[in-house]
């Protein structure tokens, strides 16, 4: 055997192997012994990490895709084009993660197609199911030109050029519905979700924060890929995104605070509870700090500063989603939930697979395009 042909063994590859092995064991456990054996879910706590993180956070983290697609194609801000394709790829991988996570979490995964024929338009979950199916399709189509280019297939490229705009608009509409519907999921639990997080405006909050975080993701991922693939950073573009992110965060902050004030939820701040700590963390660390940082041009135009702000925004987003879907429900469930290691292993494996797929796509397809040549330029969505 020729050892030189094998991939080099680096630290991160080692970590990935360990994670995937643990994930493989957990997968076997889940599908041979059931949810009870593979998770810490219970009758009091029927949703855990796989829904709270993989599905609800996964969808949110994919928000960079539709935000940038709208920016480039609908608002015609072409200069953002260089960061569009990697965001579409991230969004596609994020949604794939959601779909796979659902197969683990559903008690009867072989019935996942039932919403296609068994309709209940009164159910937010029905809306969610359709959004996942349709938007995953749209994202696959939006990314497909990269594949067609690779195989030099001119005909499909031309075809896709013709339907770019309707496709992008459909994607934006589906994303808007889907991001907000994840918030709507929790409108039905007014007596269960802590007042810090329950609000009739949940769908709006979920949508706005997804747009803000979508920009954060683009900044975050541009930095990481610049480091990993030795590319130049599109700093002026990212600084502009940072400014837009500040505007969105500001709007979100104002809406959130006035809603908390109007509902009288801020009185709970006097209670020294876990909820208060988590709420304060979410608001200060994930919202106010990055917002303050981004107000300064010096921070926005500084590579490290902007990266730090983006990381904080993403952290705040994750905290918010986990608070709404898990910790904010603990006080009424009179139960504590902490994921079993096998749940964590499955989640980490899927995130690992996402990174792996991203790296492979970058290696074999034209993800970070240099100016594409005239004839080859299809739909770079």
């Amino acid at each position: 055997m020729n050892l030189e042909k094998l991939p080099k063994f680096t630290f991160w590859r080692g970590v990935l192997v360990v994670i995937l092995a643990a994930g493989f064991y957990s997968t076997l456990l889940r599908f041979t012994k059931g949810l009870g054996a593979a998770t810490h879910l219970s009758d009091r706590f029927p949703w855990g990490l796989w829904i709270g993180f993989d599905v609800i956070c996964g969808v949110g983290l994919a928000a960079g895709g539709f935000t940038l697609a709208a920016t480039v194609y609908v608002f015609n801000l072409r200069r953002f084009h260089p960061v569009l394709r990697p965001s579409i790829l991230t969004a596609f991988l994020g949604y794939a993660l959601v779909a796979v996570a659902l197969l683990y979490d559903l008690g009867r995964p072989y019935n996942i197609w039932h919403p296609l024929i068994m309709w209940n338009p009164h159910s937010v979950m029905f809306e969610v199911a359709w959004c996942v199916m349709l938007y995953l399709t749209v994202l696959a189509l939006e990314f497909s030109p990269a594949v067609f280019e690779h195989f030099r297939m001119q005909k499909p490229l031309k075809l896709f050029k013709a339907i770019t705009i309707p496709l992008v608009i459909a994607g934006v509409l589906l994303s808007t519905l889907h991001q907000s519907s994840l918030g709507s999921l929790f409108l039905i639990v007014p007596s269960k979700l802590h007042p810090y997080w329950y609000s009739p405006l949940l769908p709006l909050f979920f949508f706005i924060s997804a747009v803000g975080t979508g920009m954060g993701i683009v900044i975050f991922e541009s930095n990481l890929s610049a480091r990993a693939f030795g590319r130049e950073l599109e700093m002026p573009l990212l600084a502009a995104l940072g400014r837009a992110m500040a505007v969105v965060l500001g709007l979100y902050g104002i809406l959130r605070l006035q809603d908390l004030w109007r509902r009288g939820a801020l009185v709970h701040l006097r209670e020294p509870s876990t909820e208060t700590v988590l709420f304060a963390l979410e608001m200060v660390l994930g919202l106010l700090t990055p917002l303050f940082m981004l107000l300064f041009r010096r921070v926005r135009e500084d590579r490290e500063g902007l990266f730090a702000a983006a990381v904080l925004v993403i952290t705040g987003f994750l905290l918010n989603r986990l608070n709404v879907s898990i910790t904010g429900l603990e006080y009424s469930a009179h139960a504590h939930y902490f994921p079993k290691w096998t749940e964590v292993a499955v989640t980490l494996s899927m995130v690992g697979m996402m990174f792996l797929c991203f790296a492979l796509a970058v290696r074999y397809l034209n993800v970070f395009e240099a100016e594409p040549s005239g004839e080859m330029r299809g739909v770079e969505a």
Binding site: F31, T32, K33, G34, L35, G36, A37, L41, S42, D43, R44, P46, W47, A70, Y73, V74, F75, N76, D105, L106, G107, R108, P109, N111, I112, H114, P115, M118, W119, N120, P121, H122, S123, V124, M125, F126, E127, V128, A129, I165, I169, V172, L173, T176, L177, S180, S184, L185, L187, I188, V189, P190, S191, K192, P200, P203, A333
Partner: protein, 273 residues
């Protein structure tokens, strides 16, 4: 007109006969004690029927206990599905696996279920339970108010075996009248409130109590609106949102494209296209 159950917690003596009867007719007894598939689910029962009382005593509802009697201080309180008038589980299920029947019971069809457990998340009373350890065909489990028995003209098993009439079965309107009569006749004994009359839009299980309902473990922070209205308010706007959103985005695209064309034409020194 639909059927309901009135539970008078001041009458319950905690004998657990309703729990044993429930296990019998739902095939939840261990080993061969239940002849479920043949006769048990539809057999006639009475206050004297011999029941497997040694298999009762669960504190909490579970996939094997769809009806439990809890001890709260000196009071016994029976907990099972409330069979809401406008049930949250029916509205949240993406595949319509739950249905409120005209007769009153809220029933579940396992063939439709994909196991997302949104019903468990959403139920304001925390009733639905899951078969966590089944690998291939886990089901959501909850009381169905003995819908199959009702279809045969029988009463729910739990109300048939009660020796003290702590749980009675009848038309909801009749039971409401009965509850109000009891409150009026013994105002000193009862808290003047029928739990379930208005909670989340009204339920088909009604409770009377001498002590505050909070002390019985029943949620007291529920709105009087049916919860499905909370999500329908948003869901019903979707067609409008899609139409307006599509028009808006299309309009913006048209304007930005036109602007680009004009700018290009002017750069090239020609006339406006």
């Amino acid at each position: 007109m639909s059927k309901a159950i009135l539970v008078d917690t001041t009458r319950c003596v905690g004998c657990q006969r309703c729990v044993a009867a429930c296990k019998l007719v739902n095939g939840l007894l261990k080993g061969s004690r239940s002849d479920f598939l043949t006769t048990d689910s539809l057999r006639t029962l009475g206050p004297d029927t011999d029941l497997a009382l040694d298999e009762t005593g669960d504190d909490e509802l579970s996939a094997n206990a769809l009806n439990v009697v809890q001890t709260r201080g000196s009071v016994y309180v029976r907990r099972f599905c409330m069979h809401c008038q406008d049930p949250t589980c029916v509205s949240v299920c993406p595949v319509g696996a739950f249905r409120k029947t005209a007769a009153g019971p809220v029933v579940y069809e396992e063939e439709r279920c994909m196991g997302c457990r949104y019903c468990m998340m959403a139920c304001p009373f925390g009733v639905p339970r899951y078969e966590w350890n089944k690998v291939l065909t886990p089901r959501v489990k909850k009381c169905n108010m003995c819908a199959p028995r009702q279809a045969k003209g029988l009463k729910p098993a739990c109300t048939e075996v009660c020796p003290v009439q702590a749980g009675i079965f009848g038309e909801r309107e009749d039971l409401m009248r009965e509850a109000e009569t009891r409150l009026r006749q013994e105002p000193a004994k009862y808290l003047q409130y029928v739990y379930g009359e208005q909670e989340v839009g009204g339920t088909s299980v009604l409770y009377l109590s001498a002590v505050p309902f909070e002390g019985l473990g029943l949620p007291v922070n529920l709105p009087h609106d049916a919860l499905p209205t909370y999500t329908w308010r948003v869901l019903s706007e979707i067609p409008t949102e899609v139409a307006l959103g599509g028009a808006l985005l299309g309009g913006i695209w048209w304007i930005t494209k036109r602007r680009e064309e004009v700018a290009k034409a002017e750069r090239e020194g020609g006339k406006r296209p």
